[in-house]
Amino acid sequence: MTALAPTNPWMAGAKDDYRVCGVTTLKVDMHAERLIIANAVMAVVCLVLGGIAALLIALTRWQAVHLLDATWFYRLLTLHGIDMLVAWIVFFEMAGLHFGSTALLNARHAAPKLAWTGFILMAVGGLMANFVVLFDPASTVTFTAYVPLKAHPLFYLSYILFAVGALITTITFFINIVVAKREKRYEGSLPLAVFGLMTAAILAVYTLLQGAIAIVPAFLWSLDVFPVYDPGIYRNFFWGFGHPAQQVNLAAMVSIWYMLAQMTVGIRPVNEKFSRLAFILYLFFINLGSAHHLLVDPGLSFAWKAVNTSYAMYLAVLGSMMHAFSIPAAMEIALRAKGYTKGLFGWLRNGPWNEPGFSGLVVSMILFGWIGGVTGVTIGTEQINMLAHNTMRLPGHFHATVVGGTTTAFMAFTYYVIPLIFRKELKLKKWAVWQPYVYGVGSALVSLGMITSGLQGVSRRNWDITFAGVVPGTVDLTLAIFGIGALIAVTGGIMYVTVVLVSILTGPRVEASNMLLVAGTNNPLLESTKLTDHQMEDKQNQPKGTLVMVFAFLVWFAVYYLTNWWLLGRTWFIR
């Protein structure tokens, strides 16, 4: 086994406290390890809370079941948004930032005290939000808390605490990287995955600052310090935080995609420049996407909306399309180099489909791109948004991105964190093998049920759409698809939580010696370093299958997009 660790020694010093990972040969700082564990545990706690809410609200919107009363439905809807979209994902990302800025760079955590402060603020904020929503009837304001809907001041304070905590943690990421560079823990450029996490961290900084701009005045307004808070201005500020927050998820998820591909298939990025440019495009253009939420708001001009909603010419979309090529292409080359060169898709058939990191990656990429990405760009088109704004097509879109995409990838990644960081043997491996598929099928049905309901005009955040009395009968069918999908997805979620809890609580302590959990005893991460330029350029190994897949994707994209223009052309004239 080739040692990956640079030869210069870990700086001698009493404060250094580390172990060497048997699988990656990288050093893991114990401070970082504890921080990763704490953040990951909080993430899973929030996932459980949000998941319970998810089950109950899905069973309410499934019209045939219609479980909760209106008060509890809206209350749990508020909770679900906060726990899932913010708490689960951000806690997991913070664990990722600690991991990326220390273990992947062979470096120490340079600011553990600061990082713990951040963690505690986030934990207090997250739990406080749950309590306020559950016990204060006025704080049923949904995730967006649109002014002038007024929640309890503690509601806004919990957002602020959480955001400040996340900002502090993000700052420790930058500190770690600077210190690692100065102490020469790594040479040359940052690894691609850390580069991607850096993109996420930079996005996180201005996202959180914009969050402060939106929420701090709302907090003061709720205390009657400010008499009024303009709802249009609030929406603009809020989405300056709310939309980029999802782009943080995007950059973090793509980094995890690269990691999973390297850990399970042993990829070498096809072209570092190509992949890094794609991240840079996110950095510069993706925050313009905030305008997606304001497309049918009064008071904004066509030009402002068109420039912003198109990310100044869809350059951030271009970034995602670049990754959508470069990751499968790298996987194809790596698998072809192993000898799976038959036909266009022989490599794909021979992928390690029983390895959760691989299946999770594939499920995540398909759901994120084919459902989430395509529907997102379409409903984010200025005029088409009129057909979709606040209908169930919206949650349909972001359940494909955030649930089917990000959450599936994060879950798959967790299975490797357990042996590598928690140093516990992964239990219930069979469950872990099936979990990405179950969760993927469930989230796909959730999204498709929501999107097809939304196409028929069903509004989101609505306890009982039959009040309107206008929805066609097929809505019952699409809402049932959504409900059944939710049951399957929740089953997948329970499988995940069970695997994690059983492993952490009952798994024997092990020093991991294997990268792959199920599919073999080889170490793709180390194999990836042996992929030669010659193998990368070999005619046999060229990513022809991937090229076919991305063109098929483009055709589907075009069909869906143009169909929506056609639908728009059939409605009333409006200007």
């Binding site: 303009d230 909306k305 271009l318 090529f325 009129m386 209908t391 483009l554 052309g569 409006i574």
Partner: protein, 176 residues
């Protein structure tokens, strides 16, 4: 996950170049579609907006209802005036928790300037099954110039959460 070789700034391969070009052309197409539709299409997002206050808008709306009232109908058990103004004129719709007021009546194929504003919270104007959705804010008089192209009774659903009775906020538009 691993640090790249020292020199990673290398020219892109043939496949990357092909895909990058195609994807970029697609992005340009996506961008061009919006201004193209803005000038050629019949369905565009209204932009005309005026500052107002709930009181001011309410007075204008009530005066409009008084002048053009043609009947009464019930929505959700509440009797509301049915109002029909001549084609081309300004018509007013008030959103408040949890009611759309009044019932508007239009002629198919005629143009109307539809003013909508909120008295209290944010609301969502969602006309079904036409499926036109607009955000309605207090303090903003949002003007949509519309031409109904189908006849029948249409429902206005509120699709922005406006506290607990949100789902009961239903209105009506009639097109003859």
């Amino acid at each position: 996950m691993l640090a790249p070789e020292k020199l990673w700034w290398k020219p892109m391969g043939r496949h990357e170049k092909t895909w990058l070009t195609v994807a970029f052309v697609w992005c340009v197409f996506l961008t061009v579609m919006m201004p193209l539709w803005y000038f050629m299409g019949k369905q565009n997002v209204p932009t005309e907006t005026y500052r107002t206050t709930p009181t001011e808008f309410n007075e204008t709306m009530l005066a409009f209802v008084e002048q053009h009232k043609v009947g009464e109908e019930s929505v959700n058990g509440v009797t509301l005036p049915v109002v029909e103004a001549p084609p081309g004129s300004d018509v007013y719709l008030r959103a408040s928790t949890w009611q759309w007021y009044p019932i508007l009546q239009f002629q198919k194929g005629e143009t109307y300037r539809l003013h909508i504003s909120s008295m209290d919270l944010q609301h969502g104007f969602s006309l079904q099954p036409v499926n036109i959705n607009l955000q309605i804010l207090p303090g903003y008089d949002y003007v949509a110039t519309i031409v109904p192209t189908t006849t029948g009774e249409f429902t206005i659903v509120c699709n922005e959460f406006c506290s607990l009775g949100h789902h009961t906020m239903i209105g009506k538009i009639i097109v003859k």
